[in-house]
Symmetry: C3
Subunit: 369 residues, 3 copies
């Protein structure tokens, strides 16, 4: 390849979001490059690992020297305009296929079709379960019809979009301390009545969360779970993925554990002992930056079978996150492969084969139709 | 030594199991080299960190080149036959003494006596508490006699086998959220009646689990606890070893925390603050392979006193696991010692002394009679 | 600086304790250099990572060669006497300002004023909430006056000492599974009656713990929380700092998460998403020693904004802990900065600026009055 470079590996980004299309001022960019939103007075989100990585790796894509100041970077970014920046940055990722979660604040974000237009790479839909439930509630539904109506609506949405998988954000809504059994019809009706009666927005009910998973199982598509790191709206002790153990044991459908940090070793344990579990460390790789991405990937790869480790960027909004997600992953994967070959642990041909599995091959297998 | 090599250190493997004596086909070997059992269609357990380590480190013991293909490896393994492979692999570990947990599916596995015959090294019994209880139930016992009968049977089993210690698999059965106090006689009778009434197999009752620990305390022998990584039959959030804090505080008997990953830093904290707690990172070292074993051992050694860190392989069934457990441990220990000496942090003589403590000296002290 | 050395960086130690002034025999020194207290028969606390670091880094400050034996070290230490050893060791830390928690066994420890006399550096008080409550109880107070009396006493203590902040040891007393809402007056009265009725020593009541935090919020000063690693009197599963999420979300006051290991990645997540959260890895750095401090600091710095990462030693009693806390921190910070510069990830000027923020600048901002 040689095994020492992963630069040319095609990537399948099996979980990302759209990129914003509006022009962004400094406040807008700062808010998009942190899971904590706008910085407080006297601080800047450029004084973070990701902020420094942007100056190093994204500035050259804007024709600036590495380490350009935030001011120079933002000025040049505004000068080129969002459309051109999006085009340059997404092209730089070398992504062969995108799987796009269209459920989180999609207004103002590119659709999968627009991502294809920007990049020339195919882009599939990933349907967010909670968004389907909330759309159904907005359209009006009787509590005692909610269960069946949800299953129908989900199936229709999947069919209509040709979705490659579905996604649960139970992590943000109820956490993973859920009864692994499907809810009864009566439980669903009661829970739906309560939820719909209080407006039917932002689903966060354990019974209805279980219902959405049950309906998803009926589709046979991979089910993605947000796990661990993400925005502030989470209780980290409730999203250790091993809390899903009893649920996972009951099913054979591919379970895709996304992000996972700081529970990535727990996630890798699940991938080790349950053949239907796959993991990635998306999102956190660009937040920690290329130097620490090496250790984070090495940790998740400690016991995860190489057939069950995937790439995702989880990039959202800022095109910088696509660049850095792909770059940090390539750096980390190359470091892992190089270490194994140079130490004599693996043959170079095995390293190359495994690199391709992780970068795209495993995703191609799991999301094949 | 020099301090740069641990190859010649004798090892005391203070927790392992027997090795299988039957001939194995590919499916048999694949099932034995993963905590997840047989791989699904289209995957092989050779595409894991341990699978690649087998090709690298075990193939040469079968007169094959490093990185031999799985097919060549399995063919040669079958050609030599299990008895010869077992003999070669166990000899390669350099183990001076084995402590063998005889409680897990012992049929078809070598006994401690057979391990001695294979290797020429002494092998002690470790008595599994749950197996004693289950044997007692199978023989028939009245619920109101269960407590005393268990204590007697345990003492007799220990005496008969000359056991060096006992082991609890509470991790697999109830987890560690146990009341630290001993159960009352009435509680034991009630729990025994319930368990015996449902067949008396696979003990998994919190009251009876506490009873087995109480009886074990009466022996004064080290008590081993499975902690963390292992097969799929565990709920990881219930086996953080710090959940045992209140129980540990009540007693002075040596408490041996086995495996521990991904809770190994939590285990090291306990070893740091409770003088009767010892830890190892057995089992996971061969699953992560020699390159990552360096970091895992370094992490558990962050605050663990060097007088309370031990070696175990936790090898079970496949002779490959004995080879890799010992090799990964030696590599990791050598890397730690070398790092401390080369950086000027430790004198070479201290490094050598500490290396010997961890490899065998601490186990000799704790398991002395 | 060059960026390759942090030796000259001034440090603000935003959380430490006093140093003992009495002469110490071997047992006294051994007890002070371990969170587990005196070693059991046949072991010595010099056979720990910190014990070896003392021989390496403290012996030369006593005019001994590196790696001096414990016997030589202790003999020379006794010969020089505590006052001289304290003077030499504290001077060696290069600390520009100390923030001293005066609440833990302060008798026999230097006061902040005495630390200033020893070192020439200013030293502020940090008021421990539980100590104020216990002093109030000792003086006598009616249960229905407890809430107001505590707030008054706390405000008076802070004013009198000119304290720079307050500290909660809820971690040791109740853990962090606390209702985030302030308690009602009636709840406080009931809880105070119960606590005072049983002697009013060692506060460990969830309602009163919440009361102390509520009173602290009224001051607007930074609130320090002990998190994670420390002495044996803790239940580690109850002090994951993300258990404080709901409490943190309600407030804007600076929240200072101290020590944090092994939950330091969880703490860094909070610092990433909540602008008022700051973290350090004090205490554990000297326990793990200079080699592992590099990895521990690198882990906590994975997603923590560099404006929210601080230095503390958490040194207590033994002057060795001040030396090693500062040294291990300098080594770890230098390694992080050097890695980023040498890999081309950061400009040298950014590395230097960030190094100064972490070593002292962030503490100066947060604890400015």
């Amino acid at each position: 390849m040689g095994v020492l470079s992963t630069t040319e590996f095609p990537l399948v980004d099996h979980h990302c979001h759209g990129v914003v299309t509006a022009e962004q001022d400094r406040a807008g960019v700062e808010a998009l490059i942190s899971e904590g939103g706008a910085p407080p007075a006297g601080e800047t989100n450029f004084d973070t690992p990701i902020g420094l990585a942007i100056r190093r790796h994204c500035a050259p894509l804007l024709d600036l020297p590495p380490h350009a100041s935030p001011e120079d970077y933002l000025a040049r970014r505004a000068e080129l305009g969002t459309a051109e920046v999006n085009r340059r940055f997404l092209a730089a990722t070398g992504t062969a296929r995108f799987l796009v979660d269209t459920g989180h604040n999609p207004s103002g974000l590119t659709t999968p079709e627009q991502i294809t237009a920007l990049t020339g790479s195919p882009a599939d839909h990933i349907v967010r379960l909670e968004s389907v439930a909330e759309a159904l509630a907005a359209d009006g539904v009787e509590p005692d019809e909610f269960g069946e109506a949800f299953a129908s609506r989900l199936a229709a949405t999947v069919a209509e979009t040709g979705a490659a998988g579905v996604k649960s954000v139970a992590a943000y809504r109820t956490g993973f301390r859920l009864d692994p059994a499907p809810p009864t019809d009566a439980e669903v009706t009661t829970a739906a009545a309560r939820w719909l009666g209080t407006g039917g927005t932002r689903l966060a009910d354990p019974v209805l969360q279980r219902l959405t998973l049950e309906a998803a199982l009926g589709l046979g598509l991979p089910i993605q779970f947000h796990v661990g790191f993400g925005d502030s709206d989470i209780r980290m002790t409730d999203v250790d993925p091993t809390l899903l153990t009893d649920w996972i044991r009951r099913h054979r459908v591919p379970v895709m554990l996304l992000h996972c940090w700081p529970w990535h070793r727990q996630a890798s344990y699940l991938a080790c002992v349950y053949p239907n579990v796959q993991v990635d460390v998306g999102s956190v790789l660009h937040y920690v930056g290329p130097r620490r991405s090496v250790e984070v990937l090495a940790e998740v790869a400690e016991v995860t079978p190489f057939t069950r480790l995937l790439y995702s960027s989880d990039a959202y909004g800022a095109p910088e996150l696509y660049v850095l997600g792909a770059h940090a992953f390539r750096v980390a994967l190359a470091a892992l492969l190089r270490d194994r070959v140079e130490s004599g642990e693996w043959a170079a041909a095995d390293a190359e084969r495994i690199g391709h599995l992780v970068a795209h091959g495993n995703a191609e297998r799991v999301y094949a139709r």
